[in-house]
Symmetry: C2
Subunit: 298 residues, 2 copies
């Protein structure tokens, strides 16, 4: 597996790291890049992340046998529309979005006959800092990447997508888009929302700042993900709204149980609820491939 021409649409942390990883693995001959910001694409060129900065999606995608769409979720539809007429029928197209059903819906609406080129991907990787300056070829090493193939995909395309991520050190899993979005609503999107709400609940109180001064390491770890990027998480929560609301309903039911036992002073039931959580969390360990050294946005 070797690519002649990678087109990078979106030259940020995720896209830039993918390009560097592919180059370092010797998997690509030439890399074109497009970014909505001219400054960003010039910087990507200066940093050697891309070989050629292009002025349009069309120009970047021309002749590419591999296209990575690493743009905010909100820019997916217009990117699909822009590359549709230029994309080679044999090219492999992947995105790196944190939600999948909405990306696929955008592709179905905008990609036309080229829908079969898209193998949707979600690498569970990130950093607390964004931008091309922070891109590194090792970002996807020892991380999990989830592919949610489409019925339209050829076996060859799915196989190649899997090989690309594996070649840059990622552990590949396959899921349906629906299972992906339900899973990450449960283990990532809702937890983020809960910590946003917990921090806002503190700030809303006059003594909030005094409270925060006394917070210890338990709060530090609990709330780390509340420092995440607001526009990224606006998009993720909006895109996966239905699943997030479903998970919120499950959470509210569990919270109600705690509130009821507290109000009733039923300490035996309270202990049982805590024990159940404590047993599950104590037995849980981070799966190989989900681990990372740096803080993930996911």
């Amino acid at each position: 597996m070797k690519f002649e021409r990678l087109a990078l649409i979106g030259c940020g942390l995720m896209g830039g790291s993918f390009a560097l990883a592919l180059r370092q693995a010797g998997l690509v001959q030439h890399i074109t890049g497009f970014s909505a910001s001219e400054k960003t694409r010039q910087r990507a060129l200066e940093l050697g992340v891309i070989d050629q900065a292009c002025n349009s999606v069309t120009e970047a995608v021309q002749g590419a046998d591999l296209v990575l769409l690493a743009v905010p979720v909100g820019a997916m539809h217009s990117s699909f529309a822009a590359l549709r007429d230029t994309l080679s029928p044999k090219a492999l197209l992947m995105d790196v979005g944190s939600t999948k059903c909405d990306v696929i819906a955008a592709a179905q609406a905008a990609l036309g006959e080229r829908l079969n080129c898209l193998v949707p991907a979600h690498p569970i990787a990130g950093k607390e800092v964004a931008g091309i300056e922070h891109a590194e070829g090792t970002l996807y090493q020892d991380r999990r990447t989830i592919l949610t193939p489409l019925p339209q995909n050829s076996i060859r395309h799915i196989q190649t997508a899997s090989e690309v991520w594996t070649a840059i050190g990622s552990h590949v899993s396959h899921m349906t888009p629906e299972a992906h979005d339900a899973t990450f609503a449960a283990v990532s999107h809702l937890p983020h929302l809960l910590t946003f709400a917990a921090v806002n609940a503190l700030t809303a109180q006059p003594q909030g700042a005094a409270f925060l001064e006394m917070a210890g390491p338990g709060f530090r770890d609990f709330s780390r993900i509340a420092a995440s990027d607001a526009s990224v998480w606006r998009d993720i929560l909006s895109a996966n709204r239905s699943e997030v609301l479903t998970q919120m309903a499950h959470f509210r039911a569990a919270l109600d149980q705690f509130e009821n036992t507290l109000k009733q002073g039923d300490t035996a039931a309270l202990q049982q609820l805590i024990q159940q959580a404590s047993d599950v969390r104590s037995a849980w360990t981070l799966q190989a491939g989900n681990a990372c050294n740096k803080a993930s946005e996911d």
Copy 2:
């Protein structure tokens, strides 16, 4: 400041570590110990944490000029009642409970004329493992200890209490019992409850186990405190029930805001809510004295 006789009531992680720290600092000549479990007090003797294992609270407290009550919150009242008639009027008595108003209420009910001996204390320290085997003299180093003095306390008693904790490396703060309980409901007790509920919400779903397999480092940090000891947290949440319920109401209001913006598809308002949380959490840092290397139960 040097004590002739420390009586340790409760020979677990917290009490044992206090005894070791005092001994290592050369602040105490003789240490008596009582534990409800005979096995535990014998083990404390074998480990050199105490010099003398006593068969009753009365025997342990006899002649002590310093008494540390390191028993579960539920055993405070009976311990106060047991030591009341033997406690020297000059002795300094401290507890290490995570909640303060309830401990003080128990003392008011059971300590009688000796109420003035009690300087309530809450060292913000702990480990994920409990028991005398894990006691260590450095447990309180670089941690914060909060004292909530009583109007009945003499200046000398408060001063001595402060000096003891400072001598074993702790950073001492004073608060009212009410402010203490409100603060820790906000930054510790509610966050624990939220993670218990979040884990239970996952477990309640048929796909819960599959969801958990895909959870990453964000979830790992967020949910770490959900692995806490169930009986300890039953007691803390029960003892501080009113403040915890108040904080839960603040949290629900913040959660409702997120739910409403999501349901209305108001992405601008959603981004603003996230930005507010992200700004506060990004600017927050663990205060000196709250830090610890090991996981705290608080």
